[in-house]
């Protein structure tokens, strides 16, 4: 594989958590056992939408072995949520989806806890269930949150009826643009909801000591969890410590506050530690983090030469019952309905609607894979309409340096078009294929997320070092790579450092393992802390060696005089007094400006900082008689700026593509008429297996990103999943002769589309 911009040679690096994970020695949250611990179980709603008329916990409390029962009546009357605070820890008066928690129980055994949860008596007055997220916004449909107007919310949220947030992306005059176009092409696409499915189900253990609580949790966002516990239980953040043992995957599904506060409340009531471990079913139904269903309508005005004159789009998204951290999803989806294209006039609107379905939230590149899947099929339809090769249409219309984004942000040097050419080259776009095989191409983008972060680098008396970071390791290796970067700054070896991480009592606030931001923001902080150490070492060595600082360099675990390596002092000697401690945060990059004045519901995604740019090409084989699709190869060419850790970055693309194959072909949450999940289990929610994994070829277009991440880098983790389903969709369409308009593109849907095309 060509590595066009070779990184400096680097010694072989083994991540420090690798061996324990591979051998099974590693300990995850569910592996923790505390003396005297009790076990938690939740009582879930018996209706997807109902008013609670009676809640009687007396039988459960009387059951021998039960040590605590908690309902919302026992807790502060506060609501939580990101942009809209619309939820309480336990149901207050009304249940709004099947996974709503009515009460929590702690007991000496799991079996007693389960029995006690069953014995809680709840009477309901059923309310009309709103599961269809498009119908949810029609006049006359009862509101799911009648008190929405009075909830605390972000001042930029535009809410109305069951629409929790309405957002638009506007540029120029879309009507005029359509009138000017040679052709106007329309397309409608529908994506089902899907799930993140980390293999480790959620687990939480809470233990109080006086007024302070320590919570071990399988979270991607320990600081957000700390804020959530402090807010909902009304205790100071200083009294809440979140510790994350090894995390068994997240994919976004373990973002946000998730059950830490309920377990802490149970532990406080029980006067003993309490442990919660989710079943796989709960991991599907009770979490408030899934990929949202979306109905997309695109309209593009184009000239015969492939100039995109105008884009209109209407997106309706299923928010589910509560906001959670996903209040921004509509506006993010709207940006992806524009895509990384030069379009002269734009009007895109997004409705993020409440329903009685499971709440949706961030799952790896939230909204982007579904909207990209719709838009990129639509772009292939546009190409067909003007009788132009779809790659050629993209060649003519993708963004490049100096181009204008959807809100007139001007791009610096970017590798978008180079990713297209490279992916097309890797897949062999022009070659002849058997009639049941096809190639599809799709492009996508994803912003970098600027956030504050902070880190410490301590040198110990023997010259070893400890890195203290708030960053969360989700499995990607982003945190595990930190010793490599620090060692390079200090002329030391990666193995000289250990990492203290995933403990909110030890390190600075960090956004968590989300938004592809760990290397981007935490890496910046760690490099700043290492630079601080470097300065201190240079000062100390200059004094020790009686030379000018300018003449010194750090290498081989020493500070030495340039050109006279025998005049040196070891880092161990300099650090002997234990006084060398570095700290750093670095400067948070600024989101670029644009002409955003025409947009409604501006929630911060109107422009994209240092966009990560992607082209993927998929080669598939379609069994027309059954609709079964096998993905033979995916070629992925990405601009993520400079790549700091090639093996880690490649791993993210491999995993993202595999996840994308699942999203494309088999992963979909099916709902009944009342919003209950019909396939909340791994037998019928079909992840792809290693046997289904295609050949994946990866290359990086390394363009140094200005004003972005450390050493010219951008994020890496989310983009790999953005265009995979889209590329597969276009490949399928090239074989069956028509687009498959519903995601996932299951065998039955491909078969039905194929028959429709043949008729």
């Amino acid at each position: 594989m060509a590595d066009t911009d070779a990184a400096p040679p680097r010694p072989r690096f083994l991540r420090s958590d690798g061996k324990e994970k591979v051998t099974g020695a590693g300990r995850y949250t569910a592996d923790l056992t505390l003396t005297g611990q009790a076990f938690a179980k939740f009582r879930y709603a018996d209706h997807p939408h109902a008013r609670i008329t009676r809640l009687d916990t007396s039988k459960a409390r009387a059951l021998p072995g039960v040590v605590a029962v908690v309902t919302q009546d026992d807790l502060p009357d506060v609501r939580f949520g990101g942009l809209v605070q619309d939820r309480t820890l336990f149901a207050k008066d009304v249940v709004r989806f099947e996974g709503e928690i009515v009460a929590g129980v702690a007991a000496l055994t799991e079996e007693i806890a389960a029995e006690a949860a069953r014995q809680i008596e709840v009477d309901y007055e059923p309310l009309p269930v709103v599961s269809d997220f498009v119908a949810a916004m029609e006049p006359g449909v009862p509101p799911i949150h009648p008190d929405l107007a009075s909830y605390e919310k972000d001042e930029n949220v535009v809410a109305d009826g069951n629409t929790m947030a309405y957002s638009t992306i506007v540029k120029g005059d879309a009507d005029a643009g359509m009138a000017e176009a040679d052709l106007v092409v329309r397309g409608r696409y529908v994506s089902d909801a899907s799930q993140g499915v980390p293999i480790e189900p959620r687990a939480v253990v809470a233990q109080w000591r006086g007024d302070e609580v320590t919570i071990w949790s399988s979270t991607q966002v320990p600081y957000a969890a700390r804020e959530g516990v402090a807010h909902t239980l009304q205790v100071p953040e200083a009294n809440v410590r979140i510790v994350v043992p090894l995390l068994g995957g997240g994919f976004g599904a373990k973002c946000d506050l998730h059950f830490e506060a309920q377990v802490a409340a149970l532990a406080r009531a029980a006067g003993r530690p309490v442990k919660l471990v989710f079943s796989r079913r709960e991991e599907f139904t009770a979490i408030a983090q899934r990929r949202e269903g979306i109905v997309m309508e695109f309209e593009t005005g184009v000239t015969r030469e492939g100039r995109l004159v105008a884009r209109r789009a209407k997106l309706v998204l299923d928010k589910g019952a509560y906001c959670g951290e996903g209040g921004f999803l509509g506006q993010m989806a709207a940006m992806h309905a524009c895509g990384p294209y030069v379009i002269e006039h734009i009007f895109v609107e997004a409705f993020l609607n409440y329903t009685n379905n499971q709440p949706s939230g961030s799952v790896r590149a939230p909204t982007a894979p579904q909207v990209c899947w719709g838009l990129e099929q639509h772009m292939d339809e546009v190409a067909r309409a003007i009788e132009m090769d779809p790659v050629e249409l993209r060649r003519r219309s993708l963004i490049e340096q100096g181009a204008e984004g959807p809100t007139r942000q001007i791009f610096d040097e970017i590798g978008m078009k180079r990713t297209l050419e490279r992916a097309v080259e890797m897949i062999g776009y022009e070659r002849e294929l058997p009639e049941d095989e096809g190639i599809g191409v799709a492009v996508g983008w994803w912003p970098c997320m600027p956030a504050s972060s902070g880190a410490y680098v301590h040198l110990n008396g023997d010259g070893s070092g400890t890195i203290v970071t708030g960053a969360q390791e989700n499995g990607s290796g982003a945190v595990m790579a930190m010793p490599m970067f620090v060692a390079e700054e200090l002329g030391m070896r990666p193995e000289d450092f250990t990492i203290l991480y995933q403990d909110t009592a030890a390190a600075n606030w960090d956004m968590g393992s989300c938004g592809s931001q760990t290397t981007f923001n935490s890496g910046r902080a760690i490099l700043a802390a290492a630079a601080d150490v470097r300065e201190q070492l240079l000062d100390a060595a200059a004094e020790e060696l009686e030379v000018d600082r300018q003449d010194l360099e750090l290498a081989d675990g020493t500070v030495r005089v340039k050109g006279s390596p025998d005049r040196s002092v070891s880092v161990g000697d300099l650090a002997g007094a234990g006084t060398i401690h570095g700290k750093g945060s670095g400067d948070v990059p600024e989101v670029p400006g644009g002409d955003t004045g025409g947009c409604v519901g501006r929630l911060g995604n109107e422009t994209f900082l240092a966009p990560q740019l992607i082209t993927q090409a998929a080669h598939v084989k379609v069994d027309r008689a059954t609709g079964v699709v096998r993905v033979l190869k995916v070629a992925a060419a990405h601009d993520s700026g400079m790549i700091l850790n090639r093996s880690g970055a490649d791993g993210q693309v491999t995993g993202g593509v595999v996840m994308g194959v699942g999203l494309a072909l088999s992963e979909g949450t099916q709902l009944d008429d009342e919003g209950r999940q019909r396939n909340p289990a791994l037998l019928d929610y079909k992840l792809v297996t290693s046997a289904d994994t295609p050949e994946i070829e990866v290359d990086w277009i390394q363009v140094p990103a200005k004003g972005a991440g450390p050493r010219g880098s951008k994020g890496v983790g989310e983009p790999p999943q953005v265009p995979t389903a889209a590329a597969i969709a276009n490949a399928i369409a090239s074989v069956v002769g028509t687009q498959v308009r519903q995601l996932p593109m299951t065998p039955e849907r491909v078969w039905a589309a194929s028959r429709g095309a043949g008729a």
């Binding site: 079996e111 084989k621 096998r630 019909r678 791994l682 037998l683 065998p747 078969w751």
Partner: protein, 298 residues
Amino acid sequence: MSRSFTSAGTLDEAFAAIGAGARPVAGGTDLVVGARQGKAPLPEAIVAIDRIEALRVLDDTGGGLRIGALVTHEDVVASAAVRSRFTALADASAIVGSHATRANGTIGGNVMNASPAMDTGGPLLCLGATATLRSASGERVLSLDELWAGPGATTADAGELLTAIEVPAPAPGTGSAYVRLEYRRQMEIAVVGASAVVTLADGSVSDARVSITALSPTIRRVAEAERALVGGDGGDAGVAAAARAAAEGAAPISDVRASADYRTAMAEVVARRAIAAAIARAGGGDVPIPASDALYGA
């Protein structure tokens, strides 16, 4: 919650436990997984029979086959006798669940679980296999038709244990195949499956057996499909007619896995492929095991 667990070293110990009300468990790939999914709680009493070596033997009886109840799918696929003369069974055992399922799951468990979606059921039924049931008081032999009573139900008494599956020697010139609709390549369950056992003599089909899987309450043979083949030349027209008849014999449902319409259409496709593969094998052609993989390509 399970109250007692016995590990039997011999058949007599197993019958003692079963007589006292215990349910047998071998690989545990149905019982334990089902309990975890909340399908049915674990029985109050369980007797593990996995240490009874006598049940672990796969005997090539010189033409026929005797498969001990504890023979795993992995053992079945590895058997040269199965691969050469009872190929449909190898097709099926090769695609049950995952590597782990095949290493732990047993042929006896598969048959006695009586799922209408079990992979090995169709091949065994078409190959004319019988089930040997033993109890403390004696032994009886049932055809699989007689054994399976409905989804998850058999006619075995509570005190009976399946000890072996016996498969008679196929006639010379016989080929067989099992094909399943597969959404993914591992960890799959049959949504639609079909088995065919076809004997060719002097260029025509002298005997044919065709069954459908996951398309009716129990796996069943479709006589109309078999009639459409027998006496014919085994060419495309006959195969297509038999496949249509097999699909007409289905009683499909609509559920989370597929609509009834799709199941019916796939019954025809999958039956056609199974029959064609069986005929090809009967004629000495090489269709790799498992046939499902080969037919989907790549």
